[in-house]
């Protein structure tokens, strides 16, 4: 997947999370900070987002340890193969 495709998946998964919380689906771009307060998610939502991304991409970038990321773009790049 390209970075843009992974960003699309992140957008879709965030919409699911928002919907299950009764919130509006957020618009995202590569620069948005995931836990920066603009998105209606907390760290546990982020945990489930990462989990879902592993399913969607078939790839676990964290399998050898944690890698820092703050923005949606930084996260998306971890899944680019």
């Amino acid at each position: 997947m390209t970075e843009q495709e992974v960003l699309g998946e992140i957008q879709r998964l965030l919409a699911d999370i928002a919907e299950s919380k009764g919130e509006d689906a957020p618009e995202i771009n590569g620069q948005v900070e995931l836990l920066g307060g603009e998105l209606p998610i907390d760290s546990l939502d982020l945990a489930s987002l990462v989990r879902e991304l592993e399913d969607v991409t078939g790839h676990d970038p964290f399998k050898d340890g944690f890698i820092d990321f703050r923005t949606a773009g930084e996260l998306a790049r971890l899944y680019v193969r």
């Binding site: 299950s20 546990l44 939502d45 945990a47 990462v50 989990r51």
Partner: protein
């Protein structure tokens, strides 16, 4: 059964008048075990079991065997091994059949076992040693993680609650469905209760929910003792009206209110009991009021012959029916003061004690402790959820997240129901307890012990 066995009345091992441990009689033609062998119906009578035990007694005596291991899921073999070992004062080990051969071989060497009892009885070649402790019965735990632990019991500790259960009128001459692993503590309790209450033990041909249900219908089963997981799966296949149940018993796992309530609705006239028991503690107490947990008043004084207390959140038990010790472990849960420490964590709310689950099963979600059982209970209480399994999933962000698999009632839209379930979780559970890896499945794997995998 097997050929070359002493027939009823031809007492090879002992005098025909001798009652033995299980109250069998040589000429009793009452059916005791009903099963299917290679698809053919097969019945062992009480006199038949007497004869099989007698033949084993004769062999143990002739060869001087004092350490016997039985490895079979056929309760006939387990019961004749108990009776035979008791008659000659031998030690008995009861082994699960799903353990690998090398484990059993190493086990027989370690404990100096001389004879392995099963479909054919096989000497191990170990030279019998006279003397030493005798008449102990070694039971294996289900071994959820790693190798099973071995608890040392006596026939007395195993039979204590069986005797009182066999006297309860609802249990007289009952027909018992053997749902548990026959080699485990719960399975043996059911088999022994069927023997002592002059009942029939029904063994299904296939150990599937449908196989159990069919066997229960075919044999007119009246008593079923099983895990809560088993009951939920039976409710998915059974027509409750086709079963004439007198007694429903739940054990082996903590019981949730939703399952108790569903059973009460499906079987309005049946006595429903849930039991707290373990391989280590034996049968501790039985609850009949239809509510999960047990009355907090039971912490105040002896109840059903046992004492209960909570220390540091864990259930402690003082009971005459506990194992003597582990044969295999360095750390012993039975203190010098006679209190047995369990790994079950409890919580007192109002007038009730609730069992939260085992210490080793907790999930650490971003530093918060989650008891899988309490989330399972919540999911099972939602409409449309027939079965649920909750477990930890490693996660880079939160350390671990709560994973859940659920089985839905037929005819529900998976997508809409999924959203409803997740919404209910988000609204009613603390955030860290909400399942973050959520899957709708057709069935949930059950282990040999009848517990969820």
């Amino acid at each position: 059964m097997t050929g070359g066995v002493a027939g009823p009345g031809r007492a090879a091992g002992r005098a025909a008048a001798e009652p033995g441990a299980l109250g069998l009689a040589a000429h009793d033609r009452t059916p005791l075990v009903a099963r299917a062998l290679a698809g053919q119906p097969d019945t062992v009578t009480r006199g038949g079991l007497w004869a099989l035990s007698d033949a084993l007694t004769a062999r143990l005596r002739a060869d001087g065997f004092r350490r016997v291991l039985v490895r079979s899921d056929d309760p006939t073999h387990i019961l004749r091994a108990i009776e035979g070992c008791h008659a000659v004062g031998a030690d008995l080990w009861i082994a699960h059949t799903n353990l690998p051969d090398p484990f059993i071989e190493e086990f027989t060497r370690r404990f100096g076992i001389e004879l392995v009892v099963g479909d054919s009885d096989r000497p191990t070649g170990v030279t019998p040693v006279a003397g030493g402790p005798a008449r102990r019965i070694h039971m294996m735990t289900s071994g959820t993680t790693g190798e099973p632990k071995v608890a040392i019991h006596t026939l007395e500790s195993l039979l204590s609650r069986v005797r009182s259960g066999a006297r309860v009128s609802v249990n007289r001459a009952g027909k018992w469905l053997l749902t548990y692993q026959p080699t485990g503590f719960a399975g043996l309790q059911v088999a022994l209760t069927a023997v002592l209450s002059h009942g029939l033990l029904v063994i299904p041909e296939e150990r599937t929910p449908l196989g159990f249900y069919q066997a229960a219908v075919d044999h007119g089963v009246t008593q079923v003792s099983a895990t809560a997981t088993f009951w939920r799966s039976l409710l998915m296949v059974a027509k409750p009206g086709a079963l004439g149940l007198r007694q429903i018993t739940l054990g082996g796992e903590a019981v949730d209110q939703a399952t108790l309530t569903r059973l009460r609705t499906a079987f309005p006239d049946t006595r429903i009991t849930h039991i707290y028991a373990s391989t280590e503690a034996g049968v501790v107490f039985a609850v009949h009021d239809g509510r999960e947990g047990f009355p907090a008043a039971w912490l105040q004084g002896p109840v059903q012959g046992v004492e209960l207390r909570i220390r540091d959140g864990f259930l402690h038990i003082k009971t005459p029916n506990a194992m003597r010790a582990y044969a295999t472990e360095a750390e012993q849960p039975l203190g010098e003061d006679g209190w047995l420490k369990t790994a079950d964590q409890c919580e007192v709310r109002d007038d009730r004690v609730y069992i939260l689950g085992r210490q080793d099963s907790t999930i650490n979600v971003a530093g918060s402790k989650v008891y899988p059982l309490s989330v399972e209970r919540f999911l099972l209480g939602l409409s449309g959820v027939l079965e649920a399994r909750v477990f930890g999933v490693p996660n880079p962000v939160a350390g671990a997240i709560v994973g859940a698999e659920v089985v839905l009632a037929e005819g529900l839209d998976p997508k809409a129901t999924r959203m409803e379930i997740l919404k209910a979780c988000r609204e009613q559970l603390p955030g860290y307890q909400v399942p973050r890896a959520f899957k709708i499945v057709d069935a949930i794997q059950v282990k040999a012990s009848g517990k969820k995998g």
